[in-house]
């Protein structure tokens, strides 16, 4: 046999044993959920982690005092590590307090850090002091928690931070002590009291019902001081930001963040007799909507069963969308997101395409509690408050010509709900029947308003010069420029000359800090499901030009602020509804924003994924999910049979092409 033939057979044999399955055969029968991530988490420190990439880990590794009910909408808080959702206790001085009673028998994940207090590699019970320690970390300037400002109403929160910073500066020996020692010596936060081993009291200087939502976020999870002291990056140990030690249903088993992450079931989770009774967060909810069962988002048989169901969750890093999506189509990822390039093949008529539905795939849609908008810098003399009625009419006119529906269809495959106000669906105060009169396309009315503003056909009636505006954007990609061009074209119908000033994110931020902008586009995804978390973006105290806050439009309206402050401390009742209505009427007329849309997430999952209903609010729901490994293995095998004939054909073609050349060559030589 000729050597080339042997080589060809060798390749063919090698390929015959090939498969595109990226996972070891030994894992096929196991209850493992396969998922992917694109950005490596920057930190897993629960006091700092604020991105979805981090939350897929911290949301599973750390438990919280409260949590959202998995299935109820609007969102409802229920007890988790706390025995109940505490009621606000008013104080004579106008403050309020909340007393959390912590479940008994909750254990931290077993970790070597506990040798500092318990001996070798053991765990220990969670106490109220662990929550107080984490709250002190939130206040600690060196930790740099993005949520520190949200706890300003906790009595003594800011003074504690100042005291701590001062003591560190004054005494380097103090600064070198472990964090828990420093906090103890600095006296702790006055409004955070450890009443007993299982009782934690939080005292606020004023009513703030929204504070409870923060106790459903990993920011306020119990953190063992031992973990922070032990994982300090010294003596070959990791940093605490890379080594979480929590109480959650899963523990982090593998963390090679550039490559893969692996969560493993925490066998000790709510296993003690003391911790389990009446712990709603540890069992699958019984209140299941029939619609969820029919749509197969939830399997009714799981009601009342102990959580979690998955043994392992594997996350593999996929930086690029296309390979990630293709691997999902092959069945190697259990859940996926639709990429723009394949949208039409996956979704048809707002539902799964017949081809995808035939594979048993499911499409879950969730409207995010978000708002995307174009903002006006209200400090600007032309488009802002100082321009008075002229400026208001100019903003109203510009709002009337932006076709957000066309924008959604052109750039986001229609994934979104048109925004009429800053409030998205699912948030108290949202009215789905409300139509904002300045968010309905009406060119004639816009032209009339513009003329009334003194800018007929875009010309300034006073000077005769065309009105030139600048649209500052934080993205310089070609795709983003096309999107901005869409808005500019709409304004061009009015004769307005709007110039796009595209800059990098950093440059844009610098412009915002300097106040050197007129129009901008921005978005916000809520931290918690309350109207306050949207209206604060328009409160004067949060104006960028005054406090560097998130009110980038610099909208300052006394009446709006008065209503906001009254509304934010009220429960969701008729009075609050009335106040919200008045606030919305103000934003409708004043137009600091042109509301565009509320983002809609389309998530895909395979037939073998059970209980795939998304939660929204960036909360992972893995503890409720399950998989059918047998069905997965069978379908993966069916979908991924290697196609070998092209290889044989290619080898044949090479041989066929070579033989005549060899013959010609030898004939010529002879």
């Amino acid at each position: 046999m000729r050597p080339t033939s042997i080589k060809a057979i060798g390749i063919a044999l090698a390929l015959a044993g090939c498969s595109n399955n990226p996972y070891p055969a030994s894992d096929r029968a196991q209850k493992i959920l396969y998922s992917s991530f694109s950005e490596a988490p920057k930190t897993l420190d629960p006091a700092v982690a604020y991105t979805t990439a981090s939350h897929i880990i911290t949301g599973n590794v750390y438990d919280t005092l409260l949590e959202y009910h998995f299935l109820k909408r609007p969102y409802e808080l229920m007890p988790a590590l706390a025995e109940s959702v505490p009621a606000a206790v008013p104080h004579p001085d106008g403050g309020v307090s909340y007393l959390f009673k912590i479940r008994d028998g909750i254990l931290f994940h077993a970790d070597p850090c506990f040798q500092l207090s318990q001996g070798h590699g053991r765990s220990r019970k969670v106490t109220a002091a662990d929550f107080a320690f984490e709250l002190a970390r939130l206040a600690d300037p060196a930790v740099n928690s993005p949520l520190a400002g949200s706890f300003a109403q906790v009595q003594g929160f800011a003074p504690f931070a100042e005291r701590l910073a001062g003591m560190r500066q004054a005494d380097p020996a103090f600064a070198a002590l472990p964090a828990h020692e420093q906090y103890k010596r600095a006296g702790g936060i006055a409004g955070v009291s450890v009443r007993s081993e299982r009782e934690l009291e939080i005292v606020l200087s004023e009513a703030k019902p929204q504070i409870l939502y923060f106790f459903a976020m990993p920011f306020t999870t119990p953190v063992p001081w031992e973990a922070v002291a032990y994982y300090n990056g010294q003596a070959g140990r990791e940093h605490f930001a890379d080594h979480p030690v929590g109480t959650g249903p899963y523990r982090l088993a593998v963390y090679e963040k550039q490559y893969r992450m692996q969560l493993e079931r925490n066998e000790a989770w709510y296993r003690s007799q003391a911790s389990l009774p009446a712990a709603p967060g540890a069992t699958f909810p019984r209140e299941i909507d029939q619609h969820d069962i029919v749509s197969k988002q939830i399997d009714g048989d799981y009601a009342g069963r102990r959580l979690p169901f998955l043994d392992r969750i594997n996350f593999v890093r996929e930086r690029e969308d296309v390979p990630r999506f293709n691997k999902f189509l092959q069945g190697y990822y259990d859940e996926g997101h639709i990429i723009k390039e394949s949208f039409d093949a996956v979704v048809q008529n707002d539902a799964l395409s017949p081809q995808m539905a035939a594979r048993g795939m499911r499409l879950d849609k969730t409207v995010e509690p978000s708002i995307f908008y174009i903002g006006f810098n209200m400090d600007d003399p032309v488009v802002g408050t100082a321009a008075g009625e002229r400026g208001r009419k100019l903003r109203q006119a510009m709002s009337l010509v932006i076709d957000a529906k066309a924008y959604l269809e052109l750039f986001l495959n229609g994934r979104g709900v048109l925004a009429q106000t800053p409030l998205p669906p699912g948030i108290f105060g949202y009215d789905q029947n409300y139509k904002n009169p300045f968010r309905q396309l009406d060119l004639a009315r816009a032209q009339k308003l513009l003329a009334e503003a003194g800018y007929r056909n875009g010309l300034d009636a006073r000077t005769g010069a065309p009105l030139k505006l600048s649209f500052d954007t934080p993205n310089t990609t070609a795709q983003a420029l096309l999107q901005y061009q869409f808005y500019v074209s709409a304004w061009r119908q009015l004769g307005l000359d709007v110039e796009i000033n595209a800059s990098t994110y950093n440059q844009f931020q610098a412009k915002v800090r300097r106040g050197a902008y007129q129009l901008f586009t921005w978005g916000w995804i809520a931290d918690f499901p309350d109207p306050e978390n949207f209206f604060f973006l328009l409160e004067c105290g949060n104006a960028q030009s005054k406090s560097g806050g998130p009110n980038t439009a610099n909208f300052c309206n006394g009446e709006f602020d008065r209503l906001y402050h009254e509304m934010k401390s009220l429960p969701n009742d008729a009075r609050r509804q009335g106040l919200i209505k008045r606030m919305l009427a103000l934003t409708e007329q004043e137009r600091p924003w042109i509301e565009l849309f509320h983002n809609e997430e389309y998530a895909l999952s395979h037939a073998w994924v059970i209980n795939s209903k998304p939660m929204g609010l960036s909360y992972p729901t893995y503890k409720y999910m399950d998989v059918d490994p047998e069905l997965r293995s069978r379908l993966q095998s069916e979908w991924n049979v290697p196609v070998r004939w092209p290889l044989y054909l290619a080898l044949l073609a090479i041989v066929a092409a070579t033989i005549p050349a060899v013959r010609t060559f030898y004939r010529e030589r002879q």
Binding site: C18, K42, E256, R319
Partner: protein, 328 residues
């Protein structure tokens, strides 16, 4: 040769100092350390957090001159960003990443293995396939095989490498289902399955230019007198090509390949990124995307060092391959 190597190394050192100066201008004079800090700790961080971050990363010092010290105090010059930049780079103390505070040296160590596991087979297979194919084409020069292969080479050179990656993943991973579309395993047995596709794609993407270059060299050598003499003496065509032509064509081939050897350590940017290989190429892409200046600075510096090393290696390889070449 020793004297030559010492001289080249000294030249190289001066080049490195120049590169470091250029890097300093690019990374510090153009980019404000405040912006780097803001990007790292967040826009809304408190001023003391910025200050702490800058202090921890050494960005709190002045660029060239520290006026906090007296004119005769050496710290006026040593306690500056410029001095620290030179000190760190020349002692290979790369510090921590601006993005996530991880030690850059550790990231380099972790990423080198995956990068080499991709680039070494890619380099070796690309070289073997390129040389063999070029020899084959040179052997059949002026036949339809020669012309067809040259047209194919031109075609492969005209296509962007990104397209090879996407098409390779779709065709071989998705449609033919021969190999996983992407992924990596540190276990050498499992790694082969993941690396087969990127290596194949990399070889195909780079083969056109190599074959054209090597073919030209081989054809030129084939027309020389010593080849004619060998044939006249009855030497077989295969022996002529492999023992005579190939050996004498080694010098220009060496100049093409030796300079690339050091870069095997820095990985392949696009291949690693698209195939999910956690190597140094991915690290560089991530540093660019994440404004991680300290990592990016390190990678550019290492790239410059490796380039200089590659040039010296090429000169040495000339001398080793051709006894007529003397390095003086």
């Amino acid at each position: 040769m020793a004297a030559y190597l010492i001289r080249r190394t000294i030249y190289g050192l001066f080049t490195v100092l120049g590169v470091l100066l250029l890097l300093f201008v690019l990374f510090f004079a153009v980019t404000d350390p405040d912006d780097i800090a803001r990007k790292a700790v967040g826009e809304r961080a408190r001023p003391e957090v910025y200050a702490l971050w800058k202090k921890n990363h050494g960005y709190d010092r002045p660029l060239l001159l520290n006026r906090a010290y007296a004119a005769d105090d050496p710290r006026r010059y040593s306690n500056t960003l410029l001095f620290d930049h030179y000190r760190r780079m020349l002692t290979f103390d790369f510090g921590n990443s601006d993005a996530d505070d991880s030690a850059i040296a550790r990231r380099l160590k972790e990423g080198m293995g995956p990068s080499l596991s991709l680039t070494v087979p890619l380099f070796a297979l690309g070289l073997v396939v390129g040389v063999l194919l070029a020899l084959f084409v040179a052997f059949f020069r002026e036949t339809y095989i020669d012309r067809a292969v040259l047209v194919l080479c031109m075609l492969t050179m005209s296509i962007a490498s990104l397209l090879y990656i996407i098409a390779g993943q779709y065709l071989i991973g998705m449609l033919l289902k021969w190999f996983p579309i992407s992924g990596f395993a540190f276990d050498p047995y499992l790694a082969g399955r993941f690396l087969a596709l990127p290596v194949l794609v990399g070889v195909v993407a780079g083969i056109g230019a190599d074959v054209r270059l090597y073919r030209t060299i081989f054809v030129e050598e084939s027309n020389r007198d010593y080849v004619r003499t060998a044939r006249a003496k009855g030497c077989g065509e295969a022996r002529v090509m492999l023992a005579h032509v190939l050996r004498n064509a080694l010098i220009p081939i060496l100049s093409n390949i030796v300079i690339t050897i050091p870069f095997l350590f820095t990985g392949a940017l696009l291949l690693e990124s698209f195939f999910g290989i956690p190597g140094l190429g991915s690290l560089t892409v991530e540093a660019i995307q994440g404004n991680d200046f300290s990592t990016l600075r390190t990678m550019v510096y290492l790239g410059a060092l490796l380039f200089i090393a590659g040039q010296i290696l090429t000169d040495v390889s000339y001398a080793l391959a051709d006894p007529r070449v003397r390095l003086t």
